[in-house]
Symmetry: C2
């Protein structure tokens, strides 16, 4: 029998003030909340722990993510939901860049209120454009990159995804790689496992790295990513978790939990009252 929680090393656990929470595969799968997950989020809040949802979705705008969580009984402020699009939006706003988009049409609303001046320097934002990855669209993005000395923001670097027909299909990372090769300009990733994405989550929480814990089901993007940003991380055995994932990274996750409920119990027990 596997216990609900296994900790790895780390004799003295610091106080936990905030949690960065992956949601797909941790809080829900598809439209169904995972058993005990909604109550677990409520326990986190009752313990006074701040929450920021960190998701790599590149086909749903933040509004849709917030609405999906609300339908399951998890009410969270839009500001506490961080997607690659929202992180890229913040960077575009802070840098005063005029974006050229090659993204999923559903994400347009996340960037709707940007109003850069016409002479602002350019940026190319590449996400999961799906069938929108045509030669003409890719070439237009390429020309902005090389002619306008544009910044290059990638919402994802995934190689492939399991498609509706059960087969692997090309994901956004392939097209980011194509544009990087042709333009000889490296893209900056906005999303897990990029350290800047975790830093943006910490800013939402108002926490230092050693005051936060990441909870996720993806040992690379969630756990190794958080740890590279100096944040302790708990791997849950739900969602995309496969047996032995915890041994695939070094150092291993701070803890391995059966599910979100077990992860929350472990965190709450380590929180200064």
């Amino acid at each position: 029998m596997t216990s609900d929680i296994t900790t790895c090393g780390m004799p003295s656990a610091p106080s936990v003030r905030g949690v960065l929470l992956d949601i797909g595969g941790v809080v829900y799968v598809g439209e169904a909340p995972l058993p005990g997950a909604v109550a677990a989020v409520a326990r986190l809040r009752a313990a006074g722990i701040k929450l920021c949802c960190l998701t790599n979705t590149t086909r749903a705008p933040r509004r849709v993510v917030v609405e999906r969580l609300a339908r399951m009984g998890v009410n969270i402020a839009p500001e506490a939901v961080l997607t690659p699009a929202m992180a890229a939006r913040r960077a575009l706003h802070e840098d005063g860049r005029r974006p050229h988009f090659l993204i999923h049409p559903a994400l347009a609303e996340d960037f709707a209120d940007l109003a850069p001046p016409p002479d602002a320097p350019a940026a190319v934002v590449v996400g999961d454009a799906g069938e929108g990855f045509t030669y003409a669209a890719l070439n237009a993005a390429f020309r902005v990159l090389v002619e306008d000395d544009a910044a290059f923001l990638a919402l994802a670097r995934n190689r492939s995804f399991r498609d509706a027909d059960g087969r692997l299909s090309l994901d956004a990372g392939a097209f980011v790689a194509a544009l990087e090769y042709a333009s000889a300009r490296p893209a900056t990733l906005y999303g897990k496992p990029a350290p800047a994405f975790f830093a943006a989550g910490l800013a939402v929480l108002g926490c230092a790295p050693d005051e936060a814990v990441m909870i996720g089901d993806d040992v690379e993007a969630d756990i190794a990513g958080a740890q590279a940003a100096g944040i302790a991380a708990v791997l849950v055995r739900t969602g995309k978790y496969r047996a032995g994932d915890e041994a695939r990274i070094d150092p291993p996750p701070r803890a391995l939990a059966a599910d979100l409920a077990a992860a929350v119990d472990w965190i709450v027990a380590r929180t200064r009252g």
Copy 2:
């Protein structure tokens, strides 16, 4: 004043039995032969030197290349014109592979007589598909690569090309890079500067590397490529040549010639009667 020929090092020149000849920018530009080029080819032949044309074109079938040369007064056997498509065709035939194509439609005739059995192992051949680089077409190629354990043949790796509107546009290399990233399978290049492409040219000539000379206008693809294959190379100051190109590679070209006529004179003078 610049002399017609400058040699670099190489005290004793070996006997020259065959010439590998780049054609675009060396024999002609567009549809117009360069001054003295047609007569220079005739002088090579009169000296008993064998000829193989080595071109990186990925939008014209071999038949069209042969016809273009014939219109200019250069009659050459189809077998002595090597394009990336013809080199890939040979590899597919020798390996008994069943090809999946993502290439320019004009190249289809170069592969028309391949007849692999239905159960032959697969190969993906990527060339300059232009507007044919759609998400669906790229995804179909990706699926053959990852599901069928296919060989991956690239007809080119160019990042970009000068388009009809005078601006740079994405070239085939970007899409080769996309598929390499997503599939984690490296492509094999059929074309200059791949050593295998020069080796195929030597096979056409029936020459050892030290019995042949490459003549080209592209210091990287033609000259560095040939030299990496152990073949001496003469850079001509026509076509895409830009002042100082000869200093961009180490070792430098064996000789720098004003044009094909000067290169041929230099070679003929070094040929054993």
